[in-house]
């Protein structure tokens, strides 16, 4: 995939590679692992088992639930909620692409063009994290408010005519439309795209750019043939870190959307916490999990970077 050979090492010679030294006591690693792994087994893996069992139970809250291998719950869940599934994938996918398009220039700017401002810009990318994301998402209600400056500007530029023709806004409103939800999702997960992109861009040896230039590559060709391929690990982990949480999110759809923008997360939340239909909720969240794992596995295979972990 990459067209360039590895840059010569600039760092001081690394320590000779050797097998991890075996220390006294063969049981030591197991003792170190035990508490943490136990925690994950009991509170991450075991719940999955419980959820699998719940999804094939029937019964009611009053009489209790029994495992009856009632797989029809899955079919019913898909039949009833396929629009929400599609919407989740569409919104999360769009937000991921937007994050990549918006985030790449900023990551590039920080890595190559920021000079002495680099640390300041990095801090500004991370700093919003320290204000609760719910507060920041609510701020979008103000920014996109009906009759506010943003909506007014879009309206006078006739952008809203085009978007409502496409069906992603409604009339002269942006709030409570798919556009608002995607805008919120993009905003919320943008730092998760920028940081891995920056990490992989920053590792690129600047001399490679010079070399490309010396070989008469135009700036854009340099970018296409050298910079972008070398930043692929960042692109892959950034898109995953954006897509996965966005696909299960229900906060943006709830705060910025309407009943027509409900995503699968919203359905799971209502089924679980309000309607108390546990089997359906469990089946839905299992389908979501399986879907995500399948997409992630395929995507990692395709992009050929498996050293993400």
């Amino acid at each position: 995939m990459t067209t360039v050979t590895d840059a010569p090492p600039l760092a001081p010679t690394p320590a000779p590679k050797e097998r991890p030294p075996r220390k006294r006591g063969r049981l030591t690693p197991y003792w170190l692992l035990l508490p943490g792994i136990l925690w994950l087994l009991v509170f991450f893996a075991l719940p999955m088992v419980y959820q699998a069992s719940t999804s094939v139970q029937t019964g009611s809250l009053e009489e209790g639930y029994k495992v009856t291998w009632h797989f029809a719950t899955y079919w019913d869940a898909v039949a009833d909620y396929w629009p929400q599934f599609l919407r989740s994938i569409a919104y999360a996918g769009t937000a991921t692409i937007l994050c990549l398009l918006l985030g790449y220039p900023l990551a590039y700017l920080i890595a190559f063009r920021a000079g002495r401002w680099r640390n300041l810009i990095l801090i500004l990318v991370i700093a919003p994290f320290f204000t609760s994301f719910l507060i920041r998402t609510l701020a979008w209600k103000t920014i996109l408010a009906d009759g506010g400056p943003v909506v007014g500007a879009l309206n006078s530029l006739h952008v809203l005519d085009v978007t409502s023709w496409l069906g992603i806004t409604a009339g002269d409103r942006v709030l409570a439309t798919p556009l608002a939800v995607v805008c919120g999702l993009t905003y919320n997960f943008l730092p998760f795209m920028i940081l891995p992109l920056y990490t992989s861009l920053e590792r690129i040896d600047g001399r490679l750019h010079e070399a490309a230039g010396d070989l008469y590559a135009k700036p854009f060709t340099t970018f296409r043939r050298v910079t972008f391929p070398l930043s692929m690990p960042g692109v892959v982990s950034g898109t995953l870190l954006t897509f996965i949480p966005a696909s299960g999110d229900y906060v943006n759809a709830d705060l910025l959307g309407s009943t027509d923008t409900r995503m699968v997360g919203n359905v799971i939340q209502t089924q679980f916490l309000r309607i108390l239909d546990y089997p359906t909720a469990a089946a839905l969240s299992f389908i979501l999990m399986a879907g995500i794992l399948a997409i992630v596995t395929l995507y990692i295979r395709k992009s050929g970077t498996e050293d993400l972990v």
Binding site: A15, E18, R19, P20, P21, K23, P29, Y30, L32, L33, P35, G36, I37, L40, F43, F44, A45, P47, Y50, Q51, T54, L102, P105, L106, L109, N119, I121, L124, V125, P128, F129, F130, T131, S132, L134, I135, R136, L138, A139, K141, T142, I143, L190, P191, I194, I244, P245, G248, D249, Y250, Q269, Y278, A282, S285, F286, L288, M289, I292, L293, V296
Partner: protein, 266 residues
């Protein structure tokens, strides 16, 4: 023509700065609206300037209680996840053992799982066990999802450590405990600190998993969520703004101290 050339040269910079603006715009709005004096229950429309909320940040019932609860949970969750995660990271880097692949995937999976799935399945477990939802169930959940992030942060640091340093310490007759405390731990410290910071931020700001597993206990994000339905007090913006300023000051102070140290060493 000159302008077009200038534009071409700086296109990346302009696009990057626009993205930065998009990232920071909500924070600007939150700050400006912390000085608002809204007419109704919701603080979405600008009315008039007021510093009432800043002089009385705890003036809303339950707000500061939820804030202190969130800080407590984040503190304990950070401690728990950092200790457990650091132990795992050392085991993974320093030792060979069976089932390494399984351990690696058990650590990777929580990070590759939509939060709502973990939240729902954990609630299923708690309901089946008849556990009472509240402080303890929130803490258990937070330690669970912070753990993987700590492992990743510490592992990266320990992996880049030169094993010869520890061998040198042992050659100089340091015992295993002494080697660990005087050599290994200080070198791993930045990774552990990064993991702990990440855990604190993740736990403090967590909403989805807390929403499922908190019962009637109200953390700060839960308070904000509830207020989005009932009416948003200006004090929420005050706390959001204050946290932003404190965090930036902390980071800047850390950078200044770090720079000074580097200069002293040089």
């Amino acid at each position: 023509m000159a302008f077009v050339r200038w534009l071409k040269r700086h296109l990346v910079v302009i696009a990057g700065l626009l993205t930065l603006g998009y990232l920071l715009l909500p924070n600007v709005v939150v700050t400006v609206f912390s000085f608002n004096n809204p007419k109704g229950r919701f603080n979405y429309e600008w009315q008039q300037f007021s510093t009432d909320a800043w002089t009385d940040p705890c003036g809303v019932a339950d707000l500061c209680g939820s804030l202190s609860l969130s800080l407590q949970i984040a503190g304990w969750a950070t401690l728990g996840a950092t200790v457990l995660g650091t132990l795992i990271a050392f085991a993974l880097v320093r030792y060979r053992f069976r089932a390494r692949g399984a351990v690696n995937s058990l650590i990777f999976l929580p990070m590759a799982m939509p939060e709502v799935v973990m939240a729902a399945s954990l609630l299923t477990l708690f309901l089946n066990l008849g556990a009472e939802l509240g402080f303890w169930t929130i803490l258990i959940a937070h330690i669970m999802f912070c753990l993987s992030f700590v492992v990743t942060a510490v592992k990266a640091r320990v992996m880049s450590m030169d094993p010869r340093l520890e061998q040198a310490a042992q050659d100089l007759y340091a015992g295993p405990v002494q080697t660990f405390l005087r050599v290994t731990l200080p070198i791993a410290a930045p990774g552990i600190a990064a993991g702990a910071l990440l855990a604190f931020a993740l736990s403090f700001d967590d909403f989805i998993i807390t929403n499922f597993n908190s019962g009637s206990t109200v953390t700060f994000p839960m308070f904000v969520w509830g207020s989005a339905q009932r009416g948003t007090p200006v004090q929420i913006n005050v706390i959001g703004t204050a946290m932003f300023i404190v965090a930036v000051l902390f980071v800047l102070a850390g950078m200044v101290i770090g720079n000074r140290r580097n200069r002293q060493k040089a």
